[in-house]
Point group: C3
Chain length 218, copies 3
Amino acid sequence: MYSGLAKGLNDAVGDFGIRAVVLTASGDHFTAGNDIVDFMDNPPTSDDSEVAQFLAALLNFPKPLIAAVKGNAVGVGTTMLLHCDVVIAGPTAKFSMPFASLGLVPEAGSSYLFPQLVGYQRAARIFMTGESFDTDSAIEMGLVTANDPDPLAHAMRVAEQIAEQPPQAIINTKALLKARNHDSVAAVMKAEFEIFAMALQSEEAMEAFMKFMSKKGK
Amino acid sequence: MYSGLAKGLNDAVGDFGIRAVVLTASGDHFTAGNDIVDFMDNPPTSDDSEVAQFLAALLNFPKPLIAAVKGNAVGVGTTMLLHCDVVIAGPTAKFSMPFASLGLVPEAGSSYLFPQLVGYQRAARIFMTGESFDTDSAIEMGLVTANDPDPLAHAMRVAEQIAEQPPQAIINTKALLKARNHDSVAAVMKAEFEIFAMALQSEEAMEAFMKFMSKKGK
Amino acid sequence: MYSGLAKGLNDAVGDFGIRAVVLTASGDHFTAGNDIVDFMDNPPTSDDSEVAQFLAALLNFPKPLIAAVKGNAVGVGTTMLLHCDVVIAGPTAKFSMPFASLGLVPEAGSSYLFPQLVGYQRAARIFMTGESFDTDSAIEMGLVTANDPDPLAHAMRVAEQIAEQPPQAIINTKALLKARNHDSVAAVMKAEFEIFAMALQSEEAMEAFMKFMSKKGK
């Protein structure tokens, strides 16, 4: 799935007919978060893992990226939104980044981008407690633009509105906006990957995974 | 006008009798935005254009800079506020930065300062759609301090309050606050100027200007 | 007191039994601010003053730091909160950083951290006017998490909630979050100390102190 998303984004870069991309999910939830068993079997690394390819594609995507979210957006489901230009969410959306609760650490540049967006203290509390937040909180934080029961239709309208703008000016505008963070986020992603890989092998992560899976099994 | 403003600011730097400067406009509007025809005839460059002199004067102005805004604040009328210390606006104020809609890119360091102030996602949406925002939104963003039907009187009161403070402490406080961004913003302004100059010569900007002027002519 | 706090924090670093630290005050107020007479007698310097030791301990503290505030939080009483992870305040809390009004400049990295948190314009107004703000404003700014009549009990609950998380993941998460600012804030603290020390010897600070103390004496 990560490499499918990476391929989709990378193909869209070179296609002159594509002026904006909308990311959404079929079904009631945006993402369930990474598969815990898969984490243990295929720990992501910074260089050539499929997760790393997806994150690099996100970080470097030069055209407008719009997300439509409903239901749970767990882990990377929330952190990937930090790389989007416009996020529309429905009233059922629930955002969470429970990395520390699982014995892990923030990823996808979120340890940099989330405190930058919402302030250090808000980010620290959310990362340290693992608590989730809803669409209205996400709007207040500036992460989400609108609460709409049909987030995809709303996202498509925004995408069309942006697609009508002069395309090179949009690409240049995004490049200027991203320039402020690009290199820092790329470096942070590498650091996060290294600490993440070590955390995956820790005893406390193993215990947290067991606890999580026994809770799920109930 | 740009060089007049630059001169006014630069003169105020050396005048010990001046402890704060209030920027405002006579008439019902703050600024109409740069003259489109003038953009084409005198494309701004980073080094010695009058716009560049004005922006350098803004960026480096060491004393408190307070703005009183009513009516339209288009383009540089909004981006210059990002360099002010306190902005008071009236209920008629309407802020817009429709650079991309005109085939251009953000200027005056706004591609750096605006996302820093309001978060990446809010800034991306506003720059990409060209949508305007009102005083209450600008207060929520932290750009504007108060919504007052007489913004100039309010701005003068703030200026007087600040002017009563120990003057060297105020100048040192502002220098410390600006130090965080100063060099980055100077570098960003240069990058914006270069991309702006190229954009001015693009076909899509030409088309956008024509569309804009035919709409205005109606 | 500064060196007592520094010692307390530094001891907590090495104690495996301590997973989070709560900072609070006995009595009705959090801090009265630094003693003005002490400022003049023992001007703080960046290297080995007790203030510098306390600030270094704050900046480098690797475990969750939670503050419970009621009453006045003057000067360093507010700026130290910028280094905390979670701040709970009561309805009586009143935050102020009247450095410029005293002829001084922001300290404890606040000239960097406060505009980063609340935006340049809000920070400039608060530093330049010396105005105080209450708990609800501090929540809106993202500095404070909750307004609770019993801030200490609330802070203890948050501390316990965080202490139940996998401890190494919490320390690594905090390290990643702090990495964004750590070196910049350390450098800013040094710059602030230098300007602060010069300001302490200025005539305008002397006058401001006299005015402040004659007001207090009334």
